[in-house]
Each structure stands twice: as structure tokens, then as C-alpha cells.
Symmetry: C2
Subunit: 270 residues, 2 copies
């Protein structure tokens, strides 16, 4: 058993090292200005992904025409078209038949879900506002290490957010991101991006996050959670655990959310 665990932990470390190395290489070729040996359309793809990540176009804004992009980049229209097709497949852009190519919005911190009154399916969704409680370091539990392909106890950034709806605390988030995969994450930097981890990773690191697998269950709060959510009595909470993936498929975030659900339900559309 002990041996198996050692082996698993070594394997997981090798996987981690390999992924990190691959990503370093990718990032280097992404930010360098030196000529590289990637096919031209991939270089154009990378350049355009950076420009989208940095917010050159707003979400749902139309991209310039293929012709105009080709002209400004000094490449053929076919090359631009191939790069755009990749960006559509990856989720940076979307196409509307006969209308053009548009910038896809980044992932909302609430994913495809929102808060409503239980049972009221037609009610307009509530939009909670995030308050940053802390940004610290933690070590990966076994579950988190496995999901993020890290070794056990690997260092993580831990972002803790409190969500308020009309001033009332409704949810508590703990988001975990591997240390070393991105630049430093701290409270000051998060505040610069409106307390949104996803906005920070996209704008600063050029990594867009999409929703991975999601789990829901019910739980009872511990003392700390009760204090943070301002609960005077124990009430059952909805616990949502989910993974955030880079567009390459790599899992880059583990998030656990505790929602008060006496007055609110977590709704998603089909």
C-alpha cells in the first residue's frame, strides 16, 4: 500500500513537472517576439488570443473582417481564417452565420448558474457581489492534488470570497490555484481585477478559464463558516465543488462554494 502510494506520488510529480515544463515552453513562445518555428496561422492565433485576453475587443464585439485582419497583420486571408477557426474551437470567439465573428465572454465567477427564489423558475436572476476576504497559501489535500494533477501537499494560492446579494451574505468561496503555474496572486492584484480570479488570469496571464466538472451536495456549516456567513442558527448549505479548466483542457482551479439556500436556490438553464 505504502509503496503504491509512493509510486502514485512520484507519478503525479512527474506529471506535474512535465505539464509545468510544457506550459513554460508554451508561455515562452507566446510572449516572446523572436521568430519561432510554429506554423504561421498558429502564431496569428496566439497573437489574437493575447489581444482578446487583454481586452482589445469587448465581449460580444465583432472582430474586424478577415480581410482587414489579414491586411493589418500582413498575412493572407486564408491564414487569418485558419487562426480564427482555432479560436472558435477553443472558445475565445463565436461565429454567427452571415453576421461575422464575435468575442466570446470570459467565464463568470458563477459559471452558468445564478440565484433565484426556490421554485420560481421564471424569476430574473440575482447577481451577487464579491468581497475579497483573503488571499493566502495552502497545501493541496489529496482530492485537490488529484484533480489538479499535483503531488500531495503541493503549494496553492487560496482565494476566499464572500458573496452578497442586496447586502446579505449568500455564499462563501474558496478557490485554489497551483503556485508556479501563474504569476503571483495576492489581494492587491485581485482587487485590480474587481476581485475576479478569472479576469486576472485572462488579462494578466492570457489564460481563459472555462467550467469543468461540477458537484453538488448538502452540508452543515462549521463555526468558522457560520461566522463568515453571519448565521446565528445552523442551517443546511448547498456545497458546490467545481473544476476550472484552461481552454487547453488542463485543470487549473478547484473551487468550493457554500451557498445559503433557505431563501435562494442555485439555478442553471438547460
Amino acid at each position: 500500500m505504502r509503496k503504491q502510494e509512493d509510486r502514485a506520488s512520484v507519478m503525479s510529480y512527474i506529471r506535474y513537472a512535465w505539464t509545468t515544463l510544457k506550459e513554460r515552453c508554451k508561455n515562452t513562445s507566446m510572449t516572446t517576439d523572436k521568430p519561432s518555428f510554429q506554423p504561421l496561422y498558429q502564431q496569428i492565433r496566439t497573437l489574437l488570443a493575447q489581444r482578446i485576453a487583454q481586452g482589445e475587443w469587448a465581449a460580444h464585439e465583432a472582430l474586424p473582417s478577415e480581410w482587414a485582419l489579414a491586411e493589418s497583420l500582413g498575412v493572407s486571408q486564408g491564414t487569418v481564417r485558419k487562426a480564427l477557426t482555432d479560436l472558435v474551437d477553443e472558445g475565445w470567439l463565436y461565429r454567427q452565420q452571415g453576421k461575422g465573428t464575435f468575442v466570446a465572454p470570459g467565464l463568470n465567477e458563477w459559471g452558468d448558474g445564478h440565484l433565484v427564489t426556490p421554485g420560481q423558475f421564471a424569476e430574473p436572476p440575482g447577481s451577487p457581489v464579491p468581497e475579497l476576504l483573503s488571499c493566502t497559501r495552502a497545501n493541496a489535500s489529496e482530492d485537490i492534488a488529484q484533480a489538479l494533477s499535483l503531488r500531495r501537499a503541493a503549494p496553492l494560492f487560496r482565494v476566499r470570497l464572500l458573496w452578497r446579494l442586496a447586502g446579505v451574505a449568500v455564499a462563501l468561496d474558496d478557490a485554489y490555484v497551483p503556485v508556479g503555474r501563474f504569476e503571483e496572486i495576492d489581494a492587491r492584484r485581485l482587487r485590480q481585477y474587481g476581485n475576479s480570479l478569472y479576469t486576472l488570469l485572462e488579462r494578466r496571464d492570457g489564460v481563459r478559464v472555462r467550467l469543468g466538472a461540477i458537484q453538488a451536495r448538502a452540508t452543515l456549516p462549521d463555526r468558522e463558516t457560520m461566522t463568515l456567513l453571519g448565521l446565528s442558527d445552523v442551517e443546511p448549505l448547498l456545497m458546490i465543488t467545481r473544476l476550472g479548466q484552461a481552454l487547453t483542457g488542463e485543470v487549473v482551479e478547484w473551487r468550493e462554494r457554500l451557498c445559503r439556500s433557505a431563501r435562494w436556490a442555485f439555478q442553471r438553464e438547460p
Copy 2:
């Protein structure tokens, strides 16, 4: 207030009557053999939807070629192609580039979710088995009436299922379907279709159900629920409330599911 409620209830009744009438007309033209004045491709679409619903082809089975279908139905290949495109848009079929057209599987009673050990994202899903507890009649609560476009207290079929995983009770379902919208629903008929409401509605009534909006929250069980789930102590339960829609978009089912979640989490993929 009283007056407004009366008005709302009259309006909801009119909506209900209108929907029922429309559906009756639709169903009549669907099951009759008399010539109708629908465009030819729509008649072919209806015929093929019936044949799929009745299980002529298994889920993921390839349909005969457009040419073979045209030949056997005595219509042009263009007509068949138009009918198939409609069936793909409605979710009866799916296409694979260069491979052909396949029968899409009907909705699983667990939708796109399944049970796993909390935190274990890579674990193979558990497949609970349904036991039919009862099939009775009930009256629509305000929430159900609104979601199903019925008047308040409208009559409903209420199907109650207990789900077991490896013999242990894990979830309790109450599914509500309007009386009059479909043929009679009772325990004997449900058993014929493996205790699956969706299989019954598809095979018998030609109506395929897809997942509509879904809500999740946490709750504590009442006495009856505790007895049915065999709980000796109170534990928080995950409550999933969801709508089932016909492929036309009409909401035909309200379902409430209570899941034990101390040992299982409800997971869905992105």
C-alpha cells in the same frame, strides 16, 4: 389583490386550454392516417419521429441512408434531407461528419448528472436503480402551476420513485405531469416501461422529454422522507428541482429529487 389573483388564474386557464387544444390538434395530425395539408417533408418528419419514438432504431444506431429512406417512403431525397434536418434540430437525431445520421438517446432520468464520491471527480459514476413507490393524483401548487402553465390546483399525475445504489436508498423523486396532456399514467403502465416516465412518454405518446431549467438547494428531511429513505438521524439533503420540456419547448414535467449527500455528490460534466 383578490381580483388580480382571479385574473391571473383565468389567464393561466386560458393559456392551459389553448396549449391543450393546440397539442390535441398536433397529436391528431400525428397519429391519423388521413391525408393532411402539411408540407410533405413535415409529414415525413412526423412519421420518422414516431418510428424513432417506438424504438425502431436503438440509441446511437445509424439511420438508413437518405437515398434508402427516400426509396422506401416514395419521396425525393431532398424531402428526406429536410425532414432529417428538422429531426436533428429537435434533438431526435444527431449527425457525424462523413459518418451518417444517428438516433440520439432519450433523456436519462438522471439527466446529465450522476452520483460519485464527493471530491472524486475522476470516479466512474454510480447508476441508481428506480423502485416505483406510487403513482397517484395530486393538485398543482402555485409554483408547479406557474411552471407548467396550468391553473392553480390543476390535476396532476404524481410519480414517486425511490432510487437505490448497491441496495442502499440514495434518492427520492416526485415527478408531476399534467393530467389530460397525455394518456393515463399508472403504476402498471410505468412498470411496463422499466419505471421510466420518459420511456413511457416517448414510446407511448411520441413525446421526447429533454432537460429544462434545474435548481439545487440544501434542505432537512421531514418525517415521511426520513422513513422512505430509511434515515435514522436527520441529515442535510440535496434537493434538485427541475423542469422537463417536450422538444417543442413546452414544459411537461416538474420533478423534485431529494438526494442523500453525506456519501454521494451529484456530479455533472461541463
